[in-house]
């Protein structure tokens, strides 16, 4: 075992020990603790937990590579802006109001504000989106174990499952939140150490965000010399229309993702929810402003050190990453020299996105303990996101389906048992999907944002800002938004339809169009259907102001009866005055 592996093992065992200790110390006894940590997490801690929840294995390991290698610099901006800009929408449009509404889950809000049909659609969306995501996280855990410790991916995934099982089933949201605070600390430390070290090495400036500026001019020059379009040149691989639409889908999707929104329920108060959003974006921005810098540094290193050399002359890191298949050299002209000039990307060299962060310590010549820390950081990113998603699945099943639909008389202890069982079941399914990933997972993760934008975002915002938004309108809007986006994605994605689409719009960007359609349909249908009850309109009004109001308190504790909230007609999904064209489809 090399010293690198020894250090990796030390850090992995140490961090896992900390997570388990935290979980044991914060184990819960009631459903409020299990679903939303009793609503008592201080804002900075909640912000760190949101950040860890949000930043997945993909953010930590692949983001820098996606920006620098698979999209030649500028094109990768959609991810940087899209995955941070959504927090502005969350903070201003959703977080404070949903917190005031005071329930456990996103389907809870949708069901209470609109109707039972809408609740079921929301549960379905939440579970599907979360499973798609979580499979990728579990696979990420397996990958890190394999690369750094030579454990096979199946064993690695199972180790990850056992750890998540322990702290998520025992501690629920409370255990998950405090573990995520620790995980954020581990992952950001590892990431920033790498970023600072490589910035110092290349530019002599210890702040990567500033060193970034220094390297760009040289990188642009290097790429021009090779006949590749400059790194900072706009629209080389993505058109302006697609840049706008994809950024939109990622932003609005972020603001519609159930596992992010649910985190604002864990805040102490409306004010706490606002501050949580601020802390979360601040913590996220530390990594997201460093990622493009690391990407540019790596690309500079790769071109500078490898272009025009033979394999024998290449530095040691080239060999070690080529051996594990993360660097491929296709010597097209057979001269044994790495030619990068001309063609797409880097000519004869193919660089895997994951290498950028994983190999940084080695390329920058950092000592072995740092490599171990990076491995622990990658695991922290994957585990924290996985546990947050698993909680959404478990609370959707136990709260929204079992308690609200199957057995409303269930005792507290019984609900908690169902929640834990659902969590355990979800972990097993997620682990299975991680070990045997279906081929389409990678694409579907990117598409999930479009689906969230097209289905949830409009009806959440309208539900808060427009008192007269009706249940029929929301169900119709969700159905149209989700339906058109899904249809376009299936029609254009490579592995299914592989069609050109309209105006060259990429499948990842169509969610923005679906969202606009959802807004239009919801507003139009709402004009022609029974308005919400007076009580509901008053409740929506009350949610707009912080501070105690009897109605919100009565609603939050479940004192309001169903017919008071939604009117006598339980089947209020039937529109009253709509023509045949506007009649909503079956949810």
């Amino acid at each position: 075992m090399s010293s690198m592996q020894t250090w990796t093992l030390v850090f992995v065992v140490l961090t896992f020990g900390i997570y388990i200790y935290i979980a044991y110390a914060s184990r819960v006894k009631d459903t409020s603790g299990f679903y939303i940590a009793g609503g008592g997490i201080p804002s900075p801690a909640n912000g760190a937990a949101i950040a860890a929840d949000w930043m997945s294995a993909a953010s930590f390991i692949s983001m820098a590579g996606i920006v620098a290698f698979s999209s030649n610099g500028y094109g990768g901006s959609v991810y940087l802006m899209g995955w941070t800009g959504g927090y502005v929408l969350l903070a201003l449009l959703l977080a404070p109001y949903l917190r005031k509404f005071g329930k456990y889950t996103v389907p809870d809000f949708v069901g209470d504000r609109y109707s039972e049909t809408a609740r079921l659609v929301a549960v379905l969306c939440a579970v599907v989106v979360s499973f798609v995501y979580v499979a990728g996280q579990m696979a990420g855990v397996g990958l890190v174990f394999q690369r750094f410790l030579n454990v096979d991916t199946t064993t690695g995934t199972i180790i990850g499952m056992v750890i998540v099982f322990f702290y998520a089933v025992l501690g629920g949201m409370k255990g998950i939140t405090w573990t995520q605070v620790a995980q954020y600390t581990v992952l950001i430390t590892a990431y920033l150490i790498c970023a600072v070290a490589i910035s110092l090495q290349l530019t002599g400036i210890p702040v990567p965000q500033i060193g970034f500026g220094q390297i760009l001019t040289e990188l642009d020059g290097l790429q021009r010399d090779l006949g590749i379009e400059a790194y900072t040149e706009a629209f080389t691989d993505t058109s302006m229309l697609n840049m706008v639409l994809i950024t939109g889908a990622l932003m609005f999707g972020t603001a519609g993702l159930p596992h992010v929104i649910v985190r604002f329920y864990t805040a102490k108060s409306v004010r706490g929810a606002r501050y949580s959003a601020l802390w979360a974006l601040f913590f996220i921005s530390l990594l997201y402003t460093s990622a493009p810098a690391i990407g540019a540094f790596s690309k500079y290193n790769v071109i500078n050190q490898l272009s025009g050399t033979t394999e024998a002359e290449a530095p040691a890191w080239y060999q070690s990453w080529r051996d594990v298949g993360l660097i491929e050299f296709n010597d097209a002209n057979g001269d044994g020299v790495i030619d990068m000039a001309g063609g797409d990307g880097l000519g004869e060299l193919v660089i895997n996105n994951d290498i950028v962060v994983l190999a940084t310590p080695e390329i920058a010549g950092l000592p072995a303990p740092i490599v171990g820390l990076v491995a622990a950081g990658g695991l922290a990113a994957a585990l924290s996101t996985a546990s947050g998603l698993l909680l959404v699945i478990s609370s959707s099943v136990a709260n929204d389906l079992y308690y609200k639909k199957v057995n409303p008389q269930a005792s507290e202890a019984r609900q908690l048992l169902v929640g834990r069982t659902a969590m355990a079941g979800a972990i097993v399914v997620a682990g299975y999907l991680g070990i045997n990933p279906p081929g389409f997972v990678a694409q579907v993760v990117a598409l999930a944002f479009g689906l969230a934008a097209a289905s949830f975002f409009p009806i959440l915002v309208l539900g808060i800002f427009w008192k007269k938004c009706t249940a029929a309108g929301a169900v119709a809007g969700m159905a149209v938004g989700l339906g058109t986006t899904l249809a376009y994605q299936l029609w254009t994605i490579d592995i299914y339809g592989n069609a050109e689409g309209f105006f060259g719009i990429q499948e990842t960007g169509f969610g923005t169009i679906g969202m606009i359609l959802n807004f239009i349909v919801t507003i139009v249908v709402s004009q022609f259907t029974t308005p919400p009850t007076e009580v509901m309109q008053q409740l929506v009004e009350d949610v707009r102001y912080p501070g105690r109001t009897q109605l919100v308190a009565a609603h939050a504790t479940g004192a309001l009866e169903e017919d008071v909230l939604h009117g006598e007609r339980a089947a209020e999904d039937e529109p009253r005055d709509t023509g045949p064209d506007e009649r909503p489809g079956p949810g």
Binding site: M81, T84, R271
Partner: protein
């Protein structure tokens, strides 16, 4: 709060939101995408300005926007005497 105060509070909240979301759209969709090419003619610290907005500037501005929102809403709450937050009221 009576009804008149509530309306006034809500109007000011909406106005603040509208202002902040305008800036939000301007830095990301505006500076980062629509006007990126003209802005790239200018540069700060050697970085083309449009590219800088797309990869650094927009993110920094996003953090500042939420900070301003949180700060202004705290002031607004204080002005309307909202000091009581519903810490215990939670969930069925």
């Amino acid at each position: 709060m009576d009804q008149r105060q509530r309306t006034a509070y809500w109007r000011r909240n909406l106005r603040l939101m509208a202002g902040l979301l305008t800036v939000w759209a301007l830095v990301s969709y505006g500076c980062g995408i629509l006007f990126v090419e003209p802005l790239n003619q200018l540069s700060i610290l050697g970085v083309p300005l449009g590219f800088w907005f797309a990869q650094q500037g927009s993110i920094v501005v996003f953090v500042l926007l939420i900070a301003i929102y949180v700060w202004r809403m705290d002031k607004l709450d204080a002005e309307y005497g909202i000091t009581e937050y519903e810490e215990e009221v939670h969930h069925s």
